[in-house]
Symmetry: C2
Subunit: 431 residues, 2 copies
């Protein structure tokens, strides 16, 4: 059992034999230390949420490519978005709405990102008008996401028919169908939910690992019955996403549509302790969702966890951790189960634009792989390479730990290995 974050009681119980989505994740309640286990499904979804999912013909195959979710009444909605400079008009639309007020509906179109097409902006407005007509939810209380191929105009006639079909077909308790409808090349739906003391949170996400626009982007939606002040929710969402979704990378490529949103049905009032437990629960759920994305990353066989401790700042620690998980040569070494710590030395040495990091003194550096120290303050340690290699091969998560100087701040980041299959999926693609 691994403790995931130093200051939050969140634990991971993983087994290489079962699918990554079936691993168990717990959090400890701040008030009484009780362990709450996350459900790997949507069995704890809040009530008062109707949805409709369908194949409306965006993609040729028969899988669902459209979902519309409507809350019985508007509640607080907040989100974090891609920082892409080429972000989609759906993201711009959502950003405006979550900045201002309450949210009551969410419409997701998959297999087409509606990005950099001639009428992208007008199409989003048209979708919003149609959703308002069918559901009565005003345009300013809606979220819209599109995910898939870039630069191909949305078949608006199909989208409009899809929205109109939702009329009379919205049903309670059908979020699992929505979780399936938002997928692109994902192997399966990625779901999580939890209940404690009547507080419910349920969420699902998509992302085949390739955080990229042509076949997959990362979208994640969470629903709760909790009543929480807007600024508190915003701060919790930001902290939780920062520790999890923002610490994950598959291939350094950034999507134009990434969105992590949370909507509230506003049924359950919360005490201060409840809010603290809520933050732990949400962080644990975000950790699970982002890890499910990595676990299903196209071509990936294992998760890479980099943990870096140093003396200057948390941001520096995370910058180093990200250098490790983003290095193609570390990703290929992990793919080959090669405990090649020289590549870690290389990766942490990579110059960065932002951080004016100091040169690394070997005397102040310790590197561990799978908790085995391989470089200890100036001296490489003798290794039984085949044993360590076998441990890497058998593990779900390959752990690389770096300490530089006196460790005060610690950060983690997660990535995945880079395999021939990644190349095949992304290169041998019919034009």
């Amino acid at each position: 059992m691994e403790k995931v974050f130093d200051n939050l009681g969140i634990y991971l119980d993983e087994h290489a034999e079962r699918p990554v989505e079936q691993d168990l994740i717990y959090f400890e309640r701040v008030d009484n230390g009780e362990s709450i286990v996350l459900r790997n499904d949507l069995s704890c979804q809040p009530s008062g949420i109707k949805s409709y999912s369908a194949h409306i013909g965006i993609c040729k195959e028969g899988s669902a490519d459209f979902t519309l979710i409507v809350l019985d009444k508007p509640g607080l909605g907040k989100a974090v978005y891609t920082r892409s400079l080429s972000c989609s008009d759906a993201v711009r639309f959502d950003r405006e709405n979550t900045r201002v007020g309450n949210i009551q509906s969410l419409c997701v179109i998959s297999k087409n990102a509606n990005v950099f097409t001639p009428s992208a902006k007008q199409d989003i407005l048209h979708i919003a008008q149609q959703v308002e007509t069918v559901t009565g939810v005003p345009i300013t209380q809606q979220l819209i996401s599109c995910t898939g191929v870039i630069g191909v105009p949305l078949p608006m006639d199909k989208v409009v028919s899809g929205i109109q079909s939702a009329s009379g077909n919205l049903e309670y308790g059908q979020l699992e169908a929505s979780a399936n409808a938002i997928m692109t090349t994902d192997k399966q739906a990625k779901m999580v939910s939890v209940e404690f003391d009547g507080i419910r949170i349920a969420g699902f996400c998509k992302g085949a690992g390739m955080i990229e626009p042509n076949m997959a982007t990362m979208l994640a939606y969470y629903f709760t019955n909790a009543v929480i002040p807007a600024q508190r929710l915003e701060a919790i969402l930001k902290r939780a996403a920062d520790l999890t979704f923002n610490a994950v990378s598959v291939d350094t490529d950034t999507s134009t549509s990434d969105t992590v949103a949370i909507l509230s049905t506003a049924e359950r009032e919360m005490s201060e302790k409840d809010i603290e437990n809520f933050e732990r629960a949400l962080t644990a759920m975000f950790f699970k969702s982002s890890r499910d994305i990595l676990g299903q990353a196209e071509g990936a066989n294992s998760v890479i966890e980099a943990q870096v401790s140093l003396s200057t700042s948390f941001e520096d620690a995370r910058a180093y951790a990200k250098k490790i998980i983003n290095s193609p040569l570390i990703k290929t070494a992990v793919h080959g189960s090669d405990p090649n710590w020289g590549r870690v030395v290389m990766a942490i040495g990579k110059p960065m634009e932002r951080n004016s990091l100091a040169e690394i003194n070997p005397e102040q550096l310790r590197i561990s792989i799978m908790d085995e120290v391989v470089f200890n303050y100036g001296a490489p340690l003798p290794l039984q390479l085949d044993i360590l290699s076998n441990r890497m091969r058998a593990a779900r998560t390959v752990r690389i730990k770096v300490e530089i100087g006196a460790p005060v701040y610690t950060a983690k980041a997660w990535g995945c290995d880079l395999s021939e299959e990644y190349i095949r999926i992304n290169a041998d693609y019919t034009t």
Copy 2:
């Protein structure tokens, strides 16, 4: 015939049928416009340079892994180095010497980077002392480079024997053997030389593309007979390296040993016009060397050239160009000959730490692939995908051109495709 840089008369004549090293590169003299073609060998090396190369047993196979080069007399030596925070002690040693004064010798050990080993620093000093003993060149007028695996102590007894064997065996006109001795996993030696008006420049480099420490790093050395003031040479070297070596990337991984050095035998005085021609010649040679590295990159089949024009600054233009060549999804698309311009939209949108680049307005964006406009100020253009794909497949260099707003500044960057072979070479590596 492609013009390589807008403001310098440098041209590339490439043919997909011949090896990349055999492509022809010209520069135009600033005084009379005459075209000078670079030689793809070391036939124009300056006189007064002795060298010795040998297999001293750093690697098991019989290929040369050691070279010592000594100039008849000390001359100006300047270099640019890796910006790695984990840089080698050889780089620290060289940095000090090229900062201060003249250089008379260069010793390169390949197959071992001598980085992050317990006695790395002492070993460099020991090598310098031995070179001084054998050649009489003082420690402060030497350069030393090591390249290869990280973290493995140098077999100093073999290195010392190697240096001693050089005594009495240094010979004139043997730089080609040195070009071979510095290789690690390079397919073949990469050489270039030129002569005009009695000015000679000759150089060679190594780098199997993977700018990484375990199997290859980028080292490049140039020798000239030209007399040139130190500050002028430093400025020319910096400008030339910035346009070429610093605009090239294979896998974003940065070596601990990268060095580009130029040494002068100080035989030929230069006029102001000579110096201008010298800068063109050196830039063209650096372009050839960096391109040879890309052309031989492990697993790579084609060069990617990204050219970005925009209104704000050259640095911004280059930041965008580098985002394009470093995107794994563009590298895999090029590998699959897929003219997937959606990935270019994604890549230029990737957020950066340093540059506060503005959001990209589709109306202000034009993208071309192989000189065919695929996205024109807000509108994707209809494409004959198979024809464009075939042109990409047949080309040595796949050219991607991006214009954002009113183009004032233009920058280029070069990369290569990402293939299954890259994964195999870097993953299936016996531990």
